[in-house]
């Protein structure tokens, strides 16, 4: 029996002065990730200091929005949902949900692409992934 992704209400992320540009881009349907300009390496999650050098020489840059499932689990609650880490093609692993599919078909290594899903109280959308 398939387990369709539920339409559970998603709590809005807490926007703060540092993460606001990320969530503003998400409202426009664009996925950004952190870039350390000291080292040229991407990082996740977005932050105001490089986790490689601790300097503030960082910026948000567009990601392709495609990746593969690194690991996942389906929470067997009343409204089941699939939590996952998706490895973006840029290399970082993002905590997310897999949606728009039968959750019982999700597998490690599955190719996925970003989709944005509305959150409650007009919050910025959540960055989720669906099978390609």
């Amino acid at each position: 029996m398939p387990t369709p992704a539920s339409n559970r209400a998603l709590p809005a992320p807490q926007v703060d002065p540092t993460n606001k540009p990320y969530f503003d881009a998400a409202r426009e349907g664009r996925l950004l990730i952190g870039l350390c300009k000291d080292t040229g390496k991407h990082f996740w999650y977005p932050r105001g200091a490089s986790p490689f050098t601790l300097s503030n020489n960082v910026e948000l840059v567009p990601a392709q929005g495609t990746g593969t499932v690194y690991t996942y689990t389906v929470m067997r609650t009343k409204e089941p949902y699939c939590v996952a880490y998706v490895e973006l093609d840029e290399g970082v692993r993002v905590f997310t949900n897999i949606v728009d599919c039968d959750l019982d078909t999700v597998r490690i290594g599955m190719k996925v692409r970003v989709v944005f899903k509305p959150t409650t109280a007009d919050g910025p959308p959540a960055t989720m992934f669906a099978p390609v």
Binding site: Q14, T18, Y45, T71, Y72, M75, V83
Partner: protein
């Protein structure tokens, strides 16, 4: 500078309750503190060092020190690394006692999540206000259970670990819990019982998860001279190590824990090897927690944990590495959602020869207690202590 053997655990007490309908958290702290001091043969006015965590009511150690009437404190430590805190506190107390910062350290833990009907593992929980990772996780329903489940899923993918192998960990815990009159789950279970129990978060079933229980525990740690003046068997703190693991800037590797770092530090200080350990208390929030830590502590090779735990290898009197002989968090007790305290307490019982006769390791002179607190794989504290009978 090695601190090996420069402090002893002289008092240990586990609260017998598993559902504290009639006691406040503060009262539970008082009851475990009194129990551990009675066990040691000391009084609260001997205490000049106090250790607790953010789970204690109030600001750091202040409100509990006030409630308990601790008036002689000259050293305090409220380091909070979740369930591993109380193992870490043993190490910090060793440091403090060895440096002369205090003579008698008291460590307390108490809580009542069961009486408060807390959905510990399955309800999304925030880290708190202004925590920068929360906006990138809370919309996605992060829970304790799904964080650990994703570790298990990846472990199965990389190493071929099976649900049946994980189930053996619960089976071993239940074999021990049947002898513990205070254990929440005393029924002996089989591998089939575990894998046929309802799925909580794939691949973890209900019986892969620990209990939610009230209660607490306390420890008393002191200088060698004082320990030798008391009447209890001598439990020497022979080594300790601590570490944390994080998300590595997004290059997250879920296959190992910080036990990979805290374990070798403890073994080096103690001057012993994993093969020398006769009894191990291993943090068991979930079955997968035990498996990953056993690998990282060096009891088996990385990826071989499934084979190591199978066929009763963790059962006292049956296998090579008796673990959690009180039934552990999986069957006995996980007070305040923090299992590090009871890990140390059962290791002390084993070293003293005071575990239940059915699970006591014969002539147990060297034991290990290990805790993981927070989210396995991504953000956790890790603490290892090695105890020796003198």
């Amino acid at each position: 500078m090695s601190l090996s053997g420069k402090a002893y655990i002289v008092g240990a007490f586990e609260h017998p309750t598993r559902k504290a309908d009639n006691q406040s958290v503060a009262q539970l702290h008082a009851e475990v503190a009194y129990g551990a001091l009675q066990d040691a043969g000391l009084t609260k006015d001997d205490v000049d060092g106090f250790f607790c965590t953010g789970a204690a009511p109030g600001l750091g150690p202040l409100n509990m020190a006030d409630y308990l009437g601790l008036t002689k404190l000259r050293h305090m430590d409220s380091t909070d690394v979740g369930g591993s805190s109380y193992v870490l506190h043993v190490g910090h107390a060793l440091e403090a006692v060895a440096l002369g910062l205090c003579n008698v350290a008291l460590v307390t833990l108490a809580g009542r999540p069961r009486a408060e009907a807390m959905a510990t593992g399955t309800a999304p929980r925030t880290w708190g206000a202004n925590v920068p990772d929360d906006p990138f996780e809370m919309p996605y329903g992060r829970t304790v259970a799904n964080a650990y489940a994703m570790v298990a899923q990846r472990h199965m993918y990389e190493f071929g670990t099976t649900s049946e192998q994980l189930a053996w960990i619960k089976v071993a815990a239940s074999q021990h819990a049947q002898w513990n009159e205070h254990a929440m789950l005393r029924k002996v279970v089989t591998v089939e019982d575990v894998v046929n129990s309802p799925m909580i978060s794939d691949p973890l079933h209900r019986l892969d998860c620990c209990v939610i229980s009230d209660g607490g525990g306390a420890l008393v740690i002191t200088r060698p001279e004082i320990a030798k003046s008391l009447k209890r068997p001598l439990v020497k703190i022979k080594g300790h190590g601590e570490a944390t693991k994080n998300q590595n800037a997004g290059y997250t590797d879920l296959t190992f824990s910080a036990a990979r770092w805290s374990g070798p530090r403890a073994f080096e200080e103690a001057g012993v090897k994993p093969a020398d350990i006769q009894y191990a208390s291993i943090y068991d929030s979930f079955t997968i927690t035990v498996l990953v830590q056993l690998e990282d502590l060096g009891f088996c090779e990385k990826g071989q944990g499934g084979k190591f735990v199978a066929d009763g290898n963790l059962i006292s009197g049956v296998g090579k590495l008796p673990f959690n002989t009180d039934g552990g968090g999986l069957c006995n007790n996980h007070p305040a959602n923090r299992g590090g305290m009871t890990k140390v307490i059962e290791a002390v019982r084993q070293i003293r020869g005071e575990a239940h006769p059915k699970v006591q390791v014969p002539n147990c002179t060297l034991a290990l207690a290990h805790g993981t607190g927070g989210l396995l794989g991504t953000r956790h504290g890790s603490a290892t202590v090695i105890l020796e009978r003198e």
